[in-house]
């Protein structure tokens, strides 16, 4: 049911075009809507504009990002059901110069999935069918809009699992995962999507359908085009189908949470764990005391008992996966015995899951940090790759820098130690320019001085367009631009994300460095 309002009148168009747009872009009109309505059913169009005039509440969720930090002004969301429909939409938008934002589960953490202005949102949510699965090779072909968790559920009876897993699994889509090259909790074991994605079907900005949906493990026939779209964040085309290699479910899995007296022990511990567990090690995740306390505070998983937590500076979650429970357990017990009996133990103590329920509960303590942070306040999220030995130093430097700053509720660090990826979160009661200016560009400069990456896995989105230079040299950025311009000469695909248009091709005034589209900075 839809209420009829004149909400569309409250969104004056054209003059609201943001400054990050290429000159050539234009706003959607009702005749464009008529065109879409000629091949899309009513249920695939949500629009506050006449003749649809849906209420603003119908469109709100598509305009707001997961953190409540970025806010778009789209009037229209299209929810196509087939690749052909996507192609028709994109072709029309390209002809007319209308900006498009591909949107998956809208769980992205860098403002990439919502419009910066009034671009049309192209939601993949209606494309959610599994196309094929071969239980022998483990190759799954699915529509881009399939939710990650539903794919895991689909594979479970076939004794296979998705090669990636992340806290957002209940909402994020495989297309969104590919578009952001999501890393997550299984990367240590199964590698990145650049390896496990075997093929993609992509609707290019011209409307052409690029069918590279192969199910081949090996295919050396020239340039591997699909790689360009992995991590492209919706700026080169719309991913509509994904072919991905899925591993068999390990017969046995175990996990432990270890309590460490000091951060310096993490690195030697990682060494021991790798050496003693070998091929069964499947995750090594770190969370500092603040992250743990926050997860417990917001009910993410059952807490450890007080005497186990006492004196712990940080925690490590170790997961093993293997083919034979007895074999894995023996290895794990040997490791734990070694850790407990060492002359100067690296750990205080720890807990070992005794059942699948406890296994999930221990994981929830780590996976739940992201959600706990969002319950605690507004988060500045930095997802950086730096040498492991610097993790704590960066967290402490940030704490020091923000000491006594109004509105700052806490600074925490956690992350995928196994991959050298630190999640640094600054939690505040609201987004303020003061906090933002203390963090940037200072933090990016620091990461750059450590030869790190300003975005290990979340991407650039709208949040870090201005900061790309800290991790990419001029030559790289120039060639990225050329690629973008070749695929998308009019700049319709996810404008204002990843790369800004060249100077002189910008509508309105150029923006000052450091200002994204965060509400607090507007």
């Amino acid at each position: 049911m839809y209420t009829i309002t004149r909400a569309s009148r409250r969104f004056p168009r054209r003059n609201l075009l943001p400054k990050l747009y290429a000159r050539s872009l234009t706003s959607l009109t009702s005749s464009d809507l008529d065109h879409f309505a000629s091949f899309l059913p009513r249920t695939s169009i949500i629009s506050t504009m006449a003749p649809f005039s849906d209420g603003p509440e119908a469109i709100a969720q598509y305009n707001a990002d997961w953190m409540g930090k970025y806010q778009g002004r789209a009037t229209t969301v299209l929810r196509p059901r087939t690749t052909e429909e996507v192609s028709k939409i994109v072709r029309h938008c390209n002809e007319r110069g209308i900006g498009l934002v591909p949107q998956g589960g809208n769980t992205g953490l860098v403002g990439g999935s919502v419009p910066v202005g009034d671009e049309v949102v192209l939601s993949l949510g209606n494309m959610s069918k599994v196309r094929s699965f071969d239980p022998v090779s483990g190759i799954l072909v699915a529509d881009a809009g399939c939710v990650l968790e539903s794919l895991s559920d689909y594979l479970q009876p076939h004794a296979h699992l998705m090669p990636l897993d992340l806290g957002a699994k209940g909402s994020c889509q495989i297309g969104g995962n590919v578009a952001t090259n999501a890393g997550g909790l299984r990367l240590l074991r199964y590698g990145s999507l650049h390896g496990s994605v075997l093929g993609l079907e992509v609707v290019l900005p011209s409307g052409q359908i690029l069918n590279a949906l192969t199910t081949l493990r090996k295919d050396n026939t020239g340039y591997d085009l699909k790689q360009l779209f992995i991590g492209s964040e919706g700026t080169l085309g719309v991913i509509t189908g994904v072919s991905i290699l899925t591993p068999p479910i390990p017969r046995a899995s175990n996990n432990v949470i270890l309590a460490l007296p000091r951060f310096e022990n993490v690195l030697p511990l990682f060494g021991e764990v790798k050496a003693r567990l070998g091929e069964i090690l499947s995750a090594f995740e770190w969370l500092d005391r603040g992250s743990y306390d926050l997860a417990v505070k917001h009910g993410q998983g059952r807490a450890l008992s007080e005497d186990e937590v006492e004196g712990a500076a940080c925690f490590v979650l170790v997961e093993t996966s293997g083919g034979r429970g007895e074999h894995d357990e023996e290895k794990l017990t040997d490791l734990l015995e070694f850790l407990l009996s060492a002359d100067t133990p690296l750990i205080n103590t720890g807990v070992l899951a005794q059942s699948p329920a406890q296994f999930s509960s221990l994981w929830a303590l780590r996976e739940g940090v992201t959600e706990a942070v969002s319950k605690e306040g507004k988060a500045y999220k930095y997802d950086i790759s730096i040498p492991l030995s610097k993790f704590e130093e960066v967290v402490n430097m940030t704490k020091e820098r923000l000491k006594n700053v109004e509105g700052v509720l806490g600074v925490i660090g956690y992350g995928h130690v196994g991959d050298g990826n630190l999640h640094l979160n600054i939690i505040a009661s609201s987004y303020t320019p003061t906090i933002a200016s203390l963090l940037e560009p200072w933090l990016y400069e620091h990461v750059s001085s450590l030869n790190g990456s300003i975005s290990a896995e979340h991407g650039i989105g709208a949040m870090k367009t201005h900061a790309l230079k800290y991790s990419k040299d001029e030559v790289s950025i120039e060639w990225m631009r050329k690629i973008k311009e070749m695929f998308d000469p009019k700049g319709i695909m996810n404008p204002g994300k990843v790369l800004l248009p060249r100077e002189g091709n910008v509508m309105g005034e150029g923006e000052k460095e450091g200002s994204g589209t965060a509400r607090a900075q507007e």
Binding site: M1, P41, R42, T43, V256, L258, R302, L304, S305, E308, T333, L336, E337, L339, L340, I347, T349, G350, V351, L352, A353, Q354, S355, P356, A357, Q358, S360, L362
Partner: protein
């Protein structure tokens, strides 16, 4: 340990290995049982019973002399005994039957437990004062063992406990139990049987030092015949079937279509 005038208490916690509650149950193609080639763990209500015994000791300190767990089950039941020992129980008994044997019924389990309790008193000089066990096992949901055991022993019973206060020196227990729409408070003299409900406590993780210690704790292995028990079931399972599958729904594009469909199906406006 300080000797006290009153005799110290011994607690027995019977535990069962069941399919883990997070596993989706599938009926086998022959319709004779369910697929058991899946993850197993300790019956959750039994885990609560183990936790409760340990908490009672933490509360009553030296007044509780021993916490013994017993599992009647196939060889792999030893895994749940290890888990209970890792949580903090002192010792275990495994009454083992072969994998091929049918699973025993509550009456046979209650008789086995009674035999163990008598044996503990006569042969081990460690008479059991309190049996804490789950109100039901999540696999067959019978919910009978505790009651039958109390009946066979002629002991008092407090079932579906949500709170247990032990008076170790007075050898009595105050138990709050869940009843329809509320709770009731019972008081009884030991020895006694208590069955646990979900709200009683939240079981702890097994800590690494305790897991290591558990490896050295004694587990006695017995066969049903050692106890003079015959576990053969009195009932025969004829057939197991899944609930009827729901018919798949259909999506409608418009409200009009929905109304038309409802009319078609015979719905009328009131």
């Amino acid at each position: 340990m300080h000797p006290t005038s009153a005799r110290l208490l011994n607690i027995l916690v019977p535990i069962k290995r069941t399919i883990d509650y997070a596993v989706k149950i599938r009926v086998n193609p022959q319709n004779t049982g369910v697929d058991t080639n899946v993850k197993h763990s300790m019956n959750p209500f039994d885990e609560i019973a183990v936790e409760e015994a340990i908490r009672q000791r933490e509360r009553n300190k030296d007044a509780i002399k021993s916490i013994k767990v017993v599992s009647i089950g196939p060889p792999k039941a030893s895994e749940v005994i290890r888990s209970a020992l890792a949580m903090g129980a002192d010792s275990g008994i495994h009454v083992e039957y072969p994998d091929s044997a049918p699973s025993p019924e509550p009456l046979a389990i209650a008789k086995t437990l009674k035999a163990i309790i008598e044996r503990e008193a006569k042969e081990k000089n460690a008479p059991i004062d309190l049996v804490i066990l789950g109100k039901q096992a999540i696999d067959d949901d019978a919910g009978q063992t505790g009651q039958m055991l109390a009946g066979l022993l002629g002991w008092g019973q407090a079932t579906y406990a949500s709170k247990v206060e032990l008076d170790a020196s007075g050898k009595s227990a105050n138990v709050t139990t869940e009843i329809d729409g509320g709770s009731q408070q019972l008081k009884g003299q030991l020895p006694m049987v208590i069955t646990t409900d979900l709200r009683l406590n939240e079981p702890r993780y097994a800590s690494l030092p305790n897991i290591m210690k558990a490896k050295k704790k004694p587990v006695e292995k017995l066969s049903p015949s050692d106890l003079g028990i015959d576990l053969t079931p009195l009932l025969e399972t004829i057939r197991i079937s899944e609930p009827a599958k729901r018919q798949a729904g259909a999506k409608v594009e418009t409200v009009e279509e929905l109304v038309a469909k409802l009319k078609e199906a015979g719905f009328k406006a009131a």
